[in-house]
């Protein structure tokens, strides 16, 4: 299961629609390779890409924190 597979599987979570009110059509158009306009999806993507690129946990944490604060 690749990082992209994990991304696509995580997008199937009902919480994205139930908690974040993201429309299903928009979820369907999300891609592992392009930035998302939804904060939580972008956080998921950032974590997976960074893990795939073997970034350290410290580095990933700081990247995500910055992302969230800047978003």
């Amino acid at each position: 299961m690749t990082a992209e597979d994990v991304f696509n599987e995580t997008l199937k979570s009902p919480e994205l629609q139930e908690i974040y009110n993201i429309p299903i059509d928009e979820i369907k158009n999300e891609s592992y390779y392009s930035k998302s306009k939804h904060e939580i999806i972008e956080v998921i993507r950032t974590l997976l890409i960074s893990k795939h690129n073997l970034r350290s946990n410290d580095a990933i944490y700081n990247i995500i924190k910055r992302h969230i604060i800047e978003f």
Binding site: T2, D5, L47
Partner: protein, 713 residues
């Protein structure tokens, strides 16, 4: 993702004497068969792969893996060691991963000085991308690249040697299958993401607490709340450790209970069969006693007053006796008459006539005068007075009375003689019937004994172990109840403390609106959401795979056992309350099957692995080389044939080292099955390559040189 081996070659490695180009195997996607008889390099080939991927070789004498450092001398070609003072031993694997070509070369230079070998190992790795060769120098980088060939966590599934197939999936442990699923499905990426997010939740919580402390350094009430929150978080952390421990203990107790339950079921069966055996034994003894008594009664019956068996067969003698007696009487009478009585010719005058003739003085026979005292008169008188009466004979009663008495005495027995035969015949039948009944009962008892032993009983019928089973089972049940209660208590506490934390957080949120704190709060909230999403996704995927596993595994099991005369049953997967899975084999009546042959057991393991791979998200194949040395030693031709058809659907590339297709008596060293498989490969029905190892010339093991013939590339 995934790796494909392009070639493996050897240089002076065990039997593979000579250079790499003389000992090269080129491989493709699909099945790559290396068919070789014993001692023709299968395990040596496998050891070459082990050397490259984990710096170990399998020592067949010690039956364990050994570090290559301890084994270099053994690994070097005997012929090279005998004929050369300086040579290189090595293994080279060329593989592709994501279109990048890697050449891994592990070598040892051998040099003999004063009868001692000096060894110089080396490890080289060349990366070829866009026709450019880059020599990788960093040892950690090299190891990372070798790990791309077969990742560490997949080695137990990718590298199989004979009986290790039986341990492929740990079905004895409830978490064994779960761990296999996580590894084979590649769910590790997701697990890793989840664990990272959990770690980020903790970090962001700490950051948030620090920010809150900094923003409220003067506010004692806030600091108290923060301190309380920290205390609660610490408690939750400890409680979670406790929870993990209790869950582990609960799982162990449940495993024990399940094992004992099966044993206990058998204990009940044993009890049942033991009772049957005792009953049958009693019946057998009763029948034997009856037979014994019957046999003992023979003496009495021999001399019975009414029907003495002693007379058996006397009928003939009685007849003989009667006729002899009659004959004897006749002869006695005849002899007396002949010797003592005077016999008169036929038509002679009777006594009365003779008396009258004496009185008359006249012979009526000759018609002449017979005057008193004359010669004629005296002759008539002599005839009249001749001895004629039996009573007058002194020997006339000599044996008559004796024989008559015998006849009188024996006459009742003579009358019962026929009945004696009948009685003996019935007696014999009774004995035969008893023998038959004893035999039937003994067979029934043997059957019960067999069932007793099958249910785990031992010949001496000692049931003390059953008592222990019952007591252990009870103890396991109590442990389960206790641990379940402990877990529920801990969960309740965690839930309570989480609610308290939430309430503190709400109070803290109400108390201030520091921008920095709010940012950290938002980060913490996002991290918690992230953790929840990965956790739920992980659980959903696991559940989906489990749901599909039974169907997929049975499909694979059916394909692998197709055409087999014996039914291997049906695989049943039962999800446990803790989310793990138990696998068993059931027959058509849904009874658990145990004791299936090794071939079936290995097929079950392969089916599960294949089904898990087929349940993957994305590419439903095993993306790494599957290399197996002698996996089919317990398989019949049918299994082997089925494997070659099914395997390419599941394993992107497999290298199978096998002897079951070998026949030294044929020109091409293949048996019928080998010819059939090769034909299918040539037709393209089975994708892959086909090699046969041969021995160049007869030699002792140390000097053996293996050559290979490629039949299909």
């Amino acid at each position: 993702m995934g790796a494909i081996i392009e070639s493996i070659s050897f240089k002076n490695f065990y039997n593979y004497y000579g250079n790499y180009k003389n000992n090269i195997y080129r491989f493709k996607r699909g099945i790559n068969i290396i068919n070789a008889d014993n001692n023709m390099g299968k395990s040596k080939f496998y050891n070459g792969v082990l050397w490259i991927v984990q710096d170990q070789v399998y020592d067949a004498d010690l039956k364990r893996l050994r570090s290559v450092d301890e084994s270099y001398i053994l690994m070097a070609s005997g012929k090279a060691k005998n004929e050369e003072h300086k040579f290189t031993m090595g293994v080279k694997i060329v593989f592709y991963e994501q279109e990048i070509k890697y050449t891994v070369l592990k070598e040892v230079k051998f040099q003999k000085d004063n009868n001692t070998w000096n060894l110089l190992p080396s490890f080289n790795l060349l990366q070829t991308e866009d026709n450019k060769d880059i020599s990788i120098l960093d040892i950690k980088e090299k190891e990372k690249i070798v790990d791309k060939l077969i990742p560490e966590e997949l080695k137990r599934y990718a590298l199989l040697q004979g009986e290790s197939l039986e341990e492929l999936v740990d079905l004895s442990s409830k978490s064994g299958l779960a761990s296999t699923i996580e590894t084979l499905v590649g769910i590790n990426t997701l697990i890793n993401a989840y664990e990272t997010s959990s770690n980020f939740v903790k970090r962001s919580s700490k950051d948030l607490a620090d920010a809150e402390k900094a923003a409220n350094a003067e506010n004692q009430k806030v600091l108290e709340l923060l301190q309380k929150k920290e205390g609660l978080e610490k408690r939750i952390e400890n409680a979670q450790d406790c929870l993990e421990k209790y869950q582990h203990e609960l799982e162990e107790a449940e495993n024990t209970k399940q094992t004992l339950e099966a044993h206990l079921m058998n204990a009940k069966k044993r009890e049942q069969y033991k009772s049957v055996m005792d009953k049958l034994e009693y019946q057998i003894n009763e029948k034997k006693k009856k037979k014994d008594n019957l046999e003992k009664s023979i003496t009495t019956e021999m001399f019975s007053d009414d029907y003495p068996w002693l007379l058996t067969g006397m009928g003939e003698y009685i007849l003989d006796y009667s006729s002899s007696r009659i004959e004897l009487v006749k002869q006695t009478v005849k002899r007396d008459w002949i010797s003592e009585a005077i016999m008169l010719p036929k038509g002679s005058p009777d006594s009365q006539s003779l008396r009258e003739m004496l009185e008359e003085g006249y012979c009526r026979v000759c018609g002449r005068s017979a005057k008193r005292d004359s010669e004629a008169w005296l002759h008539i008188k002599k005839v009249l007075e001749r001895p004629t009466s039996k009573e007058e004979n002194p020997r006339k009663n000599d044996f008559s009375d004796f024989f008559s008495n015998i006849q009188i005495e024996t006459s009742p027995f003579v009358q019962n003689l026929e009945k004696v035969g009948e009685i003996i015949k019935n007696y014999r039948q009774d004995i035969l019937d008893l023998d038959m009944q004893i035999k039937i009962l003994e067979e029934e008892k043997e059957g019960a004994e067999l069932e007793f032993i099958n249910a785990g009983g031992i010949n001496n019928k000692d049931d003390s172990s059953d008592s222990k089973t019952i007591s252990d089972f009870t103890y396991a049940g109590r442990t389960i109840d206790q641990k379940t209660e402990d877990i529920n208590k801990v969960k309740e506490n965690i839930s309570l403390w989480e609610r308290e934390i939430k309430s503190i957080e709400n109070k803290l949120t109400d108390k201030h609106s520091d921008e920095n704190v709010n940012k950290h709060r938002h980060v913490n909230s996002m991290m918690k959401q992230l953790e929840l999403l990965f956790k739920n996704t992980k659980e959903r995927i696991f559940n989906e795979i489990i749901a599909a596993l039974e169907k997929n595994a049975n499909e694979k099991y059916k394909e692998l056992t197709y055409g087999n005369l014996t039914s291997g049953g049906k695989l049943e997967f039962k999800k446990q309350t803790d989310g793990t899975v138990l696998v068993s084999i059931r027959d058509v009546n849904n009874n658990k099957i145990t004791g299936l042959g090794t071939g079936f057991q290995r097929m079950k393991q392969l089916s599960i692995v294949m089904a898990i791979i087929s349940s993957k998200i994305g590419n439903k194949q095993f993306d790494f080389p599957f290399i197996s040395d002698a996996p089919f030693s317990e398989f019949g031709n049918n299994f082997i044939n089925n494997f070659f058809i099914v395997a390419p659907k599941v394993f992107t590339q497999s290298i199978i080292l096998i002897k079951e297709l070998y026949d030294p008596r044929t020109e091409n060293f293949l048996n019928n099955l080998g010819d059939q498989i090769l034909e299918k490969m040539k037709k393209g029905d089975i994708p892959g390559t086909f090699y046969v190892n041969v021995i160049k010339e007869k030699a002792d093991t140390a000097n053996l040189v293996t050559d290979n013939k490629c039949y299909k590339l």
